[in-house]
Amino acid sequence: MRLPGPSGRLAPTVPTACLGPASARCAAGIRGGEPLSFLEFAFWNIWSKKARSLGLVLAIAFAVMTVVTLAVTSSGLEQSAAAIISVGKADFTVAQKGASDLLASTIDQGELTRLRQVHGVGSTVGVLVETEHLSASTPVFIEIGIAPTDLAPFGVTIVAGHPYGATTANQVMVGWRAASTFNLHVGSRFHANGTWNTVTGIFSTGNSFGDSAAMFPLPAVQGYNRVPGLVTMVFVKDAKGVTAATVAHRIDTDLPELTTIRTASQFGRADRDLVYLKAAVTGSTFLAVLIGAVIVGNTMLLSVFERTRELGLLRAIGWTRRRMVGLLLGENMALALLGAIIGVALAFAVTSILEQLPALKGVLHANYTSGAFWRALYTALGMSLIGGLYPATRAALLSPLKALSYE
């Protein structure tokens, strides 16, 4: 059908798209631009309401930023704490059960003796781990008290100098990272553990946490911290022919006041703070999702009100309810993904700033794991889905007639 123009003549029959350079495409039967896809339609809807879309993206981004920052910093704390048990070359570690944190764990000589008597325990290395505030730039410095005879079983390699004496005062060995940080070498003087010490050797443990620490004769650290005879944890090697799981089970049964840690995931047995921290992070994530979902839901509900006529029209021309829900949730999901990306970038920035704050320097180490990024995605999509479901359903249930007459 061709319609007569205002002058009564038929309008030109050649489509405009076929004029000029596009004429070759027309000859091949291809006219116009790309077909409109459902996603493109959703994009134009988002684009046409830039302020609302931006508001939604920012709400999601801030929630994601909060969740990711909490996740990477708590993961960093967990990693730092768990690194302690990874220093020794042992089959597993034994610590006091239910201590507020691992460094608060205490094992006395009696418990150590009973531990050594457990069937299957091969060798043990007891260490006392303390922290010291050295300076504003090194608020947390790890000091390990360990007998020189236990250094090799503990997995310590001397890379320069020699070990300290078993009971010699004022001698220290420093890890190669610490030596580099404080510009120390064999023979240097280093103020730590409450006194000036002579560096007798530089060591390596193959673990960044251990290599950033200093080691002293065990009695020196016990004396300075006034905990004679106590150790923080014991590294255990199994006797031949016995599995670590079996020995660990025996220790857990025979010495109920102690606990065994074989993996980082079991760390909470000896560090309640970390358990509470992880619970707080999980709780904060739920809270962030909930608050974000309320904001998303509220914004989207306003949007549904604004677009009532448009949504009514789509229903009137045959769009199904499912397609309507798909459109609105799809728009929300796209904004959520964008919010997640921005949120992760913000989390990087915020964490970097937090790491440099004097109060947190040396304490806070961000650990960017894939889990943190998945958490960002789940958070964003969760907020978008939970917040968007009610407005989308409400839109789908609109009476087309009432919606079309909505003012």
């Binding site: 319609l3 030109p12 339609f41």
Partner: protein, 230 residues
């Protein structure tokens, strides 16, 4: 494609239709109407006489309080997939054209074909075909806000025809148009009628109603007269 059986049925049939709105307003009061396939019928009458309500019932946008509405022999009360009915069986044109302002003319037409059996390219080609038929070439990539009132209404008709319905329902389509645009719109309806589309046109404008094959007069929710206009 019209089946032989379908051609024996009236395009639209209303049997003793009553519509009472909340608050007791009786918009339709026992309306009987038959529109044969291929007919061009105008319904006219004063404001509030129930003509738009009648159109909404035929478009399955609303349901009668009592009585039956049949489209091509199918009682709308028994149609389960209303979305499909609205998409495939009827084309709707409103007084306020109701175009989507955020997308182009072509996209406005393509949107009506989401959910149809056409491929994406098929939707695009059909939209361009309608752009050409409605004499809107060169405007397919424009936003509706950059069109004149008459052009917007032609886009609305193109959208209504996108899924090739056999029935076109138009509610005051010339209400906001100038005289030249009204003449052109009437020309469009004549062309569509000539091509076999059944048209039910609601208008309060007698001069527009005169363009139809048959005029049905309504008052106070009842059909008071029906005359052949041509």
């Amino acid at each position: 494609m019209t089946s032989p059986l379908a051609s024996l049925q009236p395009a639209i049939e209303l049997r003793d239709v009553v519509k009472v709105y909340e608050g007791g307003v009786r918009a339709l009061d026992g309306v009987d109407l038959v529109v044969e396939e291929g007919e061009f019928v105008a319904i006219t009458g004063p404001s509030g006489c129930g003509k738009s309500t009648l159109l909404h019932l035929v478009a399955a946008l609303d349901t009668p309080t009592s009585g039956s509405v049949l489209v091509e022999g199918r009682d709308l009360d028994r149609v389960h997939d209303m979305s499909r009915f609205r998409r495939e069986q009827v084309g709707l044109v409103f007084q306020l054209h109701n175009l989507l302002p955020q997308v182009s003319v072509r996209a406005n037409i393509e949107v009506a074909m989401f959910g149809s059996r056409r491929s994406a390219r098929g939707r695009r080609d059909r939209a361009l075909e309608l752009v050409q038929e409605m004499d809107l070439e060169g405007r397919e990539d424009r936003l509706p806000t950059r069109l004149s009132g008459g052009e917007r209404q032609r886009v609305a008709i193109a959208r209504a025809l996108a899924n090739e319905p056999r029935l076109l329902l138009a509610d005051e389509p010339t209400g906001n148009l100038d005289a030249a645009s009204v003449d052109r719109m009437i020309g469009v309806f004549h062309q569509l009628h000539a091509s076999g589309v059944t048209i039910l046109l609601v208008t309060h404008d007698h001069s527009v109603a005169q363009a139809a094959q048959r005029i049905v007069y309504m008052r106070d929710g009842r059909i008071v007269d029906g005359v052949d206009a041509q």
